[in-house]
Amino acid sequence: MGERFGQRLGVIALHVVVISGALLTVAPIVFMIYSSFKTTTEIFTLPPWLPPAEWSFKNYETLLTGWAYPYWYINSIIYAAVVTIFVLFFCSLAGFAFAKYYFRGKNLLFIMLIGSTMIPFQLILIPLFILMSRIDWVNHPASMIVPWMAPAFGIFLMRQYIQAVPSELMESARIDGASEFRIYAQIIVPLVRPGLTTLAILTFLGSWNSFIWPLMVLRGNRVITLPVGIATMRSQATASQIPYGEMMAAATLVSVPVILLFLMLQRYFISGLTIGAVKG
């Protein structure tokens, strides 16, 4: 009886700890959404966890009409979408080659590939920026797309997925006279859709949330991306007139769609993150 009671107590404690932690984790996001409907004075009124007294869309209105916010949004979508399309193509193609072919120098090339994933790009930030200005790509969309079109991580990810495709399928297509590229396009690609979805999510998200690179290479109010734009809302305001409500509306519009997308596609997202950890 006593032991049963102790177990019950343990289960209750487990739930209390897990749920309060979960609430604490989403609290800043809830605060952000609430604040986007509040006036600046109301945002700073205690206690901060209260919902807005009146759900006003004024911040959103000002954001969309008084700022270049729609441009930032469209720019972010275009950069992320274009880079994702190239990444899917180049990474699946290279992943296919590493998974299904035996060629000279493969091991060395693969070590180079993996090696490059370990070096954070911040380390070549300055020289890459110099390179961009030399080829006149500063403030040009190409700087947000071309250098990031074939990330090594994506190739590694696609290789893991393509390795699982049975080679016999390829062999029989080859006997039928299919070209190597047709084997890729008609046999491999349809079979690794989950892998491509995973890679698409991770790439889109990476581009969408990237900050330091667009901060450096993009100038001009109508070329910059969402994170850079939101940061300038803060940095360009005088201390007494920081548009907190509009900033929170901007922050809500940049993160909530992504969070919803994540909730729908959670499975793919998590498999993409853990594929490197649970090594094959």
Partner: protein, 308 residues
């Protein structure tokens, strides 16, 4: 292994002996290597060379040999930035990783109901824009009316000057790092927990082991490879930290450089002040540090082992 590779090679060749078959893989991998050479290798070489020069991007570069490195190593702000970055790394290793590990074990408990709901809640920070959430935290850290000071004010205590105090600013940043990365690390640990055979726990239960004993004698030892993997990821990402600090401190790394990270230092010297040669030297020093850490990670991946 060689034997296996040869047999496999023969099989592959037997399928179709066209020339195309031999050249296709090179064509397929070439986009990566072309982009890599142009946008990664070339800049790396430029950085290495440039680190020996003094250059503002406008006038002619001047060769100064190792003077950039000498000045870097005696620079107080760099020492401060390196120390701060080390503090963030250590906090991530010894606070965030244990937190994520415990959280993973709790989320993995069979008696937990609606586990998927809680998991999704813990994972949301992973996908949330860093810039957006850093602005939110900036408001939360507000001295007089921030959420984090509300309980202190309620209890009649002095509110904490989160972003204006040399020590508290680091705590503020560590809290934000913990908020952002605990969920991500939990994902790794949960994947690791799935691979521990259930029988181990059952056997331990029969022997009368307590929960804590099971955690320290089974879970931790079985998760050792994942813990190592996660530690290296955390170290690498700590070295790269920029976005959170840049936003929280309005780009200053302040007060008085007390929160500045190495990447922020690099950005400030190289991009804001256009000391390109000097910033390249900073990059090279970072490169060397990361290179050593990367070798450790490669070893974990088993790349240096002969068998796959």
């Amino acid at each position: 292994m060689v034997q296996a590779a040869m047999t496999r090679g023969r099989e592959a060749r037997a399928g179709g002996g066209f020339q195309q078959h031999k050249l296709a893989p090179y064509a397929f991998i070439s986009p990566f290597y072309v982009l890599f050479a142009f946008f990664f290798l070339a800049p790396s070489v430029i950085a290495l060379v440039l680190s020996l020069f003094r250059w503002d991007g406008i006038n002619d570069p001047r060769f100064v040999l190792g003077r950039n490195y000498g000045r870097l190593l005696s620079d107080k702000v760099f020492a401060q930035a390196a120390t701060n970055t080390a503090v963030y790394a250590i906090a991530s290793l010894f606070i965030v990783i244990p937190l994520a590990l415990v959280l993973a074990v709790l989320l993995n408990a069979k008696s937990l109901r609606f586990s998927n709901v809680w998991r999704a809640m813990y994972f949301t920070p992973v996908v949330t824009s860093t810039v957006a959430i850093s602005l939110v935290f900036q408001i939360l850290y507000n001295q007089d009316t921030g959420l984090l000071n509300a309980p202190l004010i309620y209890l009649g205590l002095e509110p904490i000057y989160w972003l204006g105090d040399r020590s508290w600013v680091k705590v503020a940043i560590i809290i934000l790092i913990a908020w952002r990365s605990t969920g991500l690390l939990t994902i790794y640990f949960l994947a690791g927990l799935q691979s521990i055979p259930e029988e181990l726990y059952e056997a331990a239960s029969i022997d009368g082991a307590s929960m804590l004993q099971k955690f320290f004698r089974i879970t931790i030892p079985m998760l050792r490879p994942i813990i190592l993997f996660v530690s290296i990821i955390v170290l690498l990402s700590s070295i790269q930290i920029f976005d959170e600090i840049h936003i929280l401190t309005n780009g200053s790394g302040g007060p008085a450089n007390a929160s500045m990270s190495v990447v922020q230092y690099l950005y400030e010297r190289g991009y804001t002040r256009l000391r390109l040669g000097f910033a390249s030297a900073v990059g090279t020093v970072l490169f060397a540090t990361v290179f050593i850490l990367s070798l450790l990670q490669l070893q974990w991946y088993g790349v240096f082992r002969k068998e796959d």
